[in-house]
C-alpha cells in the first residue's frame, strides 16, 4: 500500500472520513422555511432558524425518510434515536447550539463496498442541522484572521444534513477518492441529495494518522475545507507525509484540526481539538425520541432503487467486462446501463453496445436519444462482419447526431461495403511488398512496425478494411 501512496519506508496511512451531505428536502430539518441553495441571503428564515425565544423545533418527516434511505443503502441498522444539543459559540448558529445526534444516532454499523470489493465500515450516519454561512470582511482573502466583521446569511442554517462517519478502514488517498465517489453515487441514486461538492451540498473532513503495520495507530489530525474529490486525495497525501516527517525528525504529532489550503497545497493549524466535553452535549428537551417502526423501515427499504454497485455487477454479468472496469463505471455513472441492456433485449450485442455507449454517449443522459433497437441493428452489422470497427464508428456518429436511424441504410449511404476477403489479402500482400522495412521489423518482433503496416492497408482501402482482419492476415503471413 505504501508503494501506491508513495509514502516513505513502510509507513501506512490510516484514514477515516466524515462526509456531511445536505438532504434534498423542500424544507429545513426543524422548520418550514425553504431548503434552497443560491437564493438572496436571509430569504428563508423563521423563528426556529433564527433561534428566537420560544421557537420550537418540529422534525421533518421527509428528512428522516431520506436519512433512512442513506442508512439502508449503506447496510446500517436503523435504531430508535434521540437528538442532542451541541453547544458552541459561533454567530452562524444563533441558538448557540446545533441540534445533532450524539450517543444514539439513527443509523449505525453499516458498510460501503468500493468498486474493487474493498469493504469500508460505516460507524454511523446521523441527522443534524446545517449552520448559516459567514462571509468575513477585511481579512486577507476572506479569511477569519484579521477580519474586521462578518456577515451572516441564515438560509443554510437548519438545512437537514446527514453526517456519514466511516471507520478508519481507508489506507490510501486513492481509496479515499473511491469511497467519496461511490458514496456520492449512492446518495444520488437513492435521491437523498444532489451531493455536489462544488456547491457545498456534500462536504468531507478526513481524519488522518500514520503508523507502521503491526504497531498501534498514531495520533490523528482532522483535515477540513476539502472541496473536491481531487483535493481530498492531495490533502490526505500531504498530511500523511507531514506526520511522517515529524515523527522521523523525533517530534510528535499533536491532535488538532487542520485546514487544507488548495492554493499552497498544505494543511495549516486551525485549532487544537476541543474535548467532546467542551460541547456540553445534552438531550434536546424540545424534541421527543425518533423510533421508526419496522413497517416504515421496510417500506423505505422496498422503495430503494438498485444501487450503483449492483448495477455494475449486473452490467458486468451481461457484457463480460469487470464490474470495476472503466466502461462499467462510466456507463453506470451516467445511468445508461439500462439502455445497454435494452440493446441486448432488442437483439443487439451488449458488449459492443457497452463500448459504443461509453465512447459516444458522453453527452446523453440516462435516456439516450438513439432508440436501443437502432444501436442493436448496428451491432448486428458488426458481428456479421458487414461493417469494420472504423465504419461502425462513423455510422454510430450519424446515429447519435440524428437521434437514431437505420444503421444499414446509413452504411449504404456512406458507401460502406464489406471488403471481399480476396481483395483484402491482395491489399495486405501489396503493402508487405511496398513496406519491406516495416515488414522486416514486424517479423523481427517490433510491435510498432505492426501499426505502420495496418495503417498502410487502412489507407489503401480508404478506411474500409477491418483492422482486426488486417492484423490477423499480417500475423498469418508472418507465420
Amino acid at each position: 500500500m505504501s508503494a501506491i501512496d508513495g509514502l516513505p519506508g513502510d509507513w501506512q496511512m490510516v484514514v477515516g472520513l466524515e462526509v456531511h451531505v445536505e438532504l434534498a428536502t423542500a424544507t429545513k430539518l426543524f422548520s418550514a422555511s425553504a431548503n434552497r441553495f443560491g437564493d438572496e441571503p436571509n430569504t428563508h428564515i423563521d423563528p426556529v432558524t433564527l433561534g428566537l425565544p420560544g421557537a420550537l423545533p418540529v422534525l421533518n418527516r421527509q428528512a428522516v425518510e431520506l436519512a433512512m434511505r442513506i442508512g439502508l443503502a449503506l447496510d446500517c441498522t436503523i435504531q430508535p434515536c434521540t437528538f442532542h444539543r451541541k453547544n458552541y459559540f459561533y454567530p452562524d448558529m444563533p441558538k448557540a447550539y446545533q441540534i445533532s445526534q450524539y450517543d444514539q444516532p439513527l443509523n449505525v454499523d453499516g458498510h460501503l463496498d468500493l468498486p474493487d470489493g474493498t469493504r469500508i465500515g460505516i460507524e454511523r450516519a446521523h441527522l443534524e442541522e446545517d449552520t448559516g454561512k459567514s462571509t468575513h470582511l477585511g481579512g486577507a482573502g476572506g479569511r477569519i484572521h484579521g477580519s474586521e466583521a462578518s456577515l451572516i446569511d441564515f438560509n443554510r442554517a437548519g438545512v437537514p444534513l446527514v453526517e456519514i462517519v466511516s471507520r478508519p478502514d481507508i489506507r490510501s488517498a486513492e481509496q479515499a477518492r473511491q469511497y467519496v465517489t461511490e458514496l456520492r453515487a449512492i446518495l444520488v441514486a437513492v435521491g437523498a441529495s444532489d451531493a455536489k461538492m462544488e456547491e457545498g451540498s456534500m462536504r468531507c473532513d478526513a481524519n488522518v494518522s500514520v503508523h507502521r503495520p503491526g504497531t498501534p495507530f498514531g495520533t490523528r489530525c482532522e483535515i477540513k475545507n476539502v472541496n473536491s474529490v481531487r483535493s481530498l486525495g492531495r490533502a490526505i497525501e500531504y498530511e500523511a507525509r507531514r506526520q511522517i516527517d515529524l515523527i522521523e525528525a523525533g517530534e510528535r504529532v499533536v491532535q488538532q484540526t487542520r485546514h487544507w489550503d488548495e492554493g499552497d497545497g498544505r494543511t495549516h493549524t486551525l485549532r487544537s481539538k476541543e474535548d467532546a466535553d467542551d460541547y456540553r452535549y445534552f438531550l434536546e428537551p424540545d424534541l421527543v425520541p425518533l423510533a421508526p417502526s419496522a413497517e416504515w423501515i421496510q417500506a423505505v427499504g422496498d422503495a430503494l432503487p438498485m444501487l450503483p454497485g449492483a448495477r455494475r455487477a449486473r452490467l458486468a454479468g451481461a457484457t463480460g467486462v469487470a464490474a470495476d472496469s472503466e466502461a462499467a463505471m462510466v456507463v453506470v455513472e451516467r445511468g445508461q446501463d439500462d439502455y445497454v441492456l435494452a440493446v441486448g433485449a432488442a437483439g443487439g450485442d451488449v458488449a459492443r453496445a457497452l463500448v459504443h455507449v461509453k465512447e459516444a454517449y458522453a453527452d446523453q443522459g440516462a435516456t439516450p436519444t438513439v432508440p436501443a433497437a437502432d444501436l442493436a441493428a448496428l451491432t448486428v452489422l458488426e458481428t456479421g462482419g458487414q461493417l469494420t470497427a472504423t465504419q461502425a464508428k462513423a455510422v454510430l456518429a450519424d446515429l447519435v447526431a440524428n437521434g437514431g436511424g437505420d444503421a444499414a441504410a446509413i452504411a449504404r449511404a456512406r458507401g460502406f461495403e464489406a471488403m471481399d476477403t480476396g481483395a483484402l489479402e491482395a491489399m495486405v500482400d501489396r503493402v508487405i511488398a511496398e513496406q519491406a522495412d516495416a515488414w522486416a521489423k514486424f517479423c523481427a518482433g517490433e510491435g510498432k512496425a505492426m501499426g505502420a503496416l495496418v495503417g498502410a492497408v487502412m489507407k489503401a482501402s480508404h478506411g474500409k478494411a477491418d483492422g482486426k482482419a488486417v492484423t490477423a492476415l499480417l500475423q498469418a503471413r508472418r507465420g
Binding site: 418550514a32 422534525l59 418527516r61 477569519i144 474586521e148
Partner: protein, 100 residues
C-alpha cells in the same frame, strides 16, 4: 461555596460562551448556580429504583411534520431588529477563537 460546581467550572463555561466575567462575578455565579443545582438534590433523595430511565417526561415518539414550505419571515423586518446589518445579512463583530 457549593460542592456541586466549582469556580473553575464556571470560568470554563463562561470562556466557552465568550463571556468575560470578573473574579467577583465568577464567585457570585458559582454560588448562584450551586444554589440551583441544590434543587436537584431533592430528586436524588427520591427512591427511583422502579422508574425506567427516560429522556423525556412525555410518553411520545415520532412527532413529525410534513415537508411543506411556509413563507419566510420578512428579511427587512428581521434585519431592522438586528444591532447591525449589511448587504441583506447580519453584521457581527470579528469572530475570535478560543485562544483569543
Amino acid at each position: 461555596m457549593s460542592e456541586r460546581i466549582s469556580e473553575a467550572d464556571v470560568a470554563k463555561v463562561a470562556r466557552l460562551a465568550r463571556l468575560h466575567l470578573t473574579g467577583e462575578e465568577v464567585q457570585r455565579m458559582t454560588a448562584q448556580l450551586g444554589g440551583m443545582l441544590e434543587h436537584f438534590a431533592d430528586v436524588d433523595a427520591l427512591d427511583l429504583a422502579e422508574v425506567e430511565p427516560m429522556t423525556q417526561p412525555y410518553p411520545l415518539v415520532n412527532v413529525l411534520r410534513d415537508d411543506v414550505v411556509a413563507p419566510s419571515l420578512d428579511r427587512a423586518e428581521v434585519l431592522a431588529a438586528a444591532p447591525s446589518a449589511e448587504d441583506g445579512r447580519f453584521r457581527v463583530p470579528p469572530i475570535i477563537g478560543l485562544e483569543g
